[in-house]
Amino acid sequence: MEFRHHHILDISALTPEDISYILETAANLKEILTRPIPKVPTLRGKLVAHLFFEPSTRTRLSFERAAKILSADVFNFTARMSSVEKGETLLDTVLNLKAMGVDLFVIRHSMAGAPHFIAQVAGTRVINAGDGFHAHPTQALLDLLTVKEKKGTLAGLKVAIIGDIRHSRVAHSGICGFKKMGAEVYVSGPATMLPSARETLGAKVCYRLEEALQGADVVMALRVQKERHGKDLFPSLREYARQFGINAERLALAKPDCLLMHPGPVNWGVELHPELENDPRSVILEQVTNGVAVRMALLVLLLGGTA
């Protein structure tokens, strides 16, 4: 199969065949991570720039690890929005870095659509590492890879995503990805954080948490943030933990062999009860490893090296 995409901006632009191909490529490349010296020359001479306009250590390190294993050169550009506000526009930054020979931009930005804008103007490859509330395609792909590995399939699974769905790019891309691969997605959490009446994302909205968890194959809790645009979306973290936090009792509603997932970093004691920290159903650290594999796959597919 030929991979015809120049950018990875959004899961919605990928077909189920594209996704399967990415997951296969990632699964193959994952072997490299287990070698004593995990380094291959695939992308030697390529320059990857990580533009992070929003603090995110984990995603950035994951991309950096992936690029370095493939022997690409790496630029790390971390900017607080405030320093960018001082005059240098996103466009300036990108064009300057491009002039230094960047082949691919990995971009994390607080504004939805910023990576799309770069893709339009830069003339290089672009990977969206998370834009505003909009999309986080690499997270969705690593989640799909994790579930696929553990369950053997994605079709027909019941996936429950719990937490702030409305303001979560992880949820937006996750719902889209799981649905494309034939899973059913249920979402629950405080109703102030669920998709609004008019913004159906294709997930079934449950106002009772139990409904979403009942018989689930996958339970994914999202990191919560109490305040959005200066307004509290739920009364207290205490109430959140009591009403919407996942604990052993609630997890027991799901299938016995369910997978417990979280995009990290976890607020233990809020969205997940500390009693689940070493639970065998948790695949949270596998998600981290698979993140590196998926990002390696995307770099290879976009930069045309041979896998």
Partner: protein, 426 residues
């Protein structure tokens, strides 16, 4: 100077007229309307196959001067207006500084006089600095030449203050124009709440915010018995409320813009910043409701909300991009699409573009009666042209219609008896 418009189809709803007639203009006024008028000493403009209408008035434009001259000036905006077939515009007060005192009003009029193309009617602020705190000097502003008041760009935040504005406007017979938006619901939003906000991952602006604000203005029109004009209606709910107010006999009028009956929120998908506008482009059901409201007369006026922005404000991240689009030069062909789709008649279109805004703003125009000031728009219903950065006269090119083929074009624009624009000669 005499001008004879020969052989056009004259459409003047103010006289219930739709006939092939000649129109003679002399000393800035309509001298005569009739068959085979003699043309001695007159400049003769052939209008065969063309429509001759009372001059179009765009009661909602942003000309950016003073303060943001890199986007548009009164001169470039006036040129875009006459190229679009408009003989008059009302410019909104959200300039820098805002038009909240007579000095700014006079400055705008001075610049308009220098540009010397179309009539420019300043709309003054309702509140000082558009801060929503205290009323501007309506009397002084009117004496300086303001024709209406509005805080457009922002709503008047409190009902009590809007009530005072409506009451005080009565002393000066100043129309009050409302930018109807509930800011607490709209704040932080970039596109319509629904398909667009869900697909783009952006905060949405719900139609209910517009409806709540329109309902407030209707209640205040009832309370004060003062006319209120609702700017840029974009939603089905908004239309329904205005229909209800009119059925109750309340003095409420309304306008919409061509983009609300032409486009939907789909135009924003892909983060197209030229389709970012406030109120946002809505759903197909909203678009249809706006179209029906135009046909029924619930919406009185088509205004463009011409809002120029340079690439500095538009060629950037969607969330950072400014709201607004240029509309003066695409309004006529988009309006003609309504006629072609069978929604309205040609004479109703002329009413929407000319008679109704003249009546609401209480300015001259909207008629070709003998003795009236000779503001005349002559257009070709069929001429096709391509919207491009080159064909637009406005200083800014932020049109969501770039690349569209338009059908319908102004051929002669005559302002106070003077031919200020001729197709192909700008």
């Amino acid at each position: 100077m005499k001008i004879l418009l020969k052989g056009g189809l004259v459409i003047d709803p103010s006289q219930g007229l739709e006939a092939a007639l000649d129109l003679l203009i002399e000393e800035g006024r309509i001298k005569a309307l009739g068959k085979d008028l003699p043309g001695e000493g007159a400049r003769i403009l052939s209008c065969h196959g063309l429509i001759v209408a009372p001059g179009f008035i765009d009661m909602h434009v942003h000309f950016r001067e003073p303060g943001e001259e890199w986007k548009e000036t009164i001169a470039t905006g006036s040129l875009a207006a006459v190229a679009g077939g408009f003989t008059a515009v009302a410019c909104m007060p959200n300039t820098r500084p805002p038009n909240d005192n007579a000095e700014v009003t006079r400055y705008i009029l001075k610049k308009a006089k220098e540009a010397n193309l179309c009539h420019v009617y300043p709309v003054a602020c309702i509140t000082k600095g558009q801060k929503g705190e205290s009323l501007t000097e309506f009397g002084d502003l009117k004496e300086a030449g303001a024709v209406a008041v509005s805080d457009d760009g922002r709503p008047v935040p409190e009902a009590a203050l809007m009530r005072l504005a409506l009451e005080y406007a009565k002393n000066f017979d100043l129309p009050v124009i409302s930018h109807a938006e509930d800011l607490s619901l709209a704040r932080g939003g970039h596109v319509n709440e629904g398909l667009a906000s869900a697909k783009l991952g952006l905060r949405g602006i719900p139609v209910e915010g517009e409806a709540i604000a329109i309902f407030r203005e209707i209640m205040l029109a009832e309370l004060t018995r003062t006319p209120v004009h609702i700017a840029h209606v974009s939603s089905k709910l908004g239309v329904e409320l205005i229909r209800w107010a009119k059925e109750k006999g309340l003095p409420v009028t309304a306008e919409t813009a061509p983009h609300y009956f032409t486009l939907t929120e789909e135009a924003t998908l892909g983060y197209h910043t030229n389709a970012k506008v406030n109120p946002p482009l809505r759903s197909e059901a909203d678009r249809q409701a706006v179209e029906e409201a135009i046909a029924e007369g619930v919406i009185d006026v088509i205004a463009t909300d011409h809002a120029p922005h340079s690439p500095l404000e538009k060629f950037c991240e969607f969330e950072r991009a400014a709201f607004g689009l240029v509309g003066l030069e695409t309004a006529l062909p988009l309006g003609l699409n309504l006629v072609r789709r069978g929604v309205i008649s040609l004479s109703r279109l002329v009413e929407l573009f000319s008679c109704a805004p003249a009546r609401i703003l209480k300015v001259p125009g909207g008629t070709l009666k003998e003795g009236a000031r000779a503001d005349v728009t002559v257009f070709d219903r069929e001429a096709t042209w391509l919207v491009s950065e080159e064909t637009l006269h406005s200083k800014s090119k932020n049109s969501p219609f770039l690349g569209w083929e338009m059908r319908g074009q102004a051929v002669y624009t005559i302002v106070a008896g003077r031919l200020v624009y001729q197709r192909g000669k700008a």
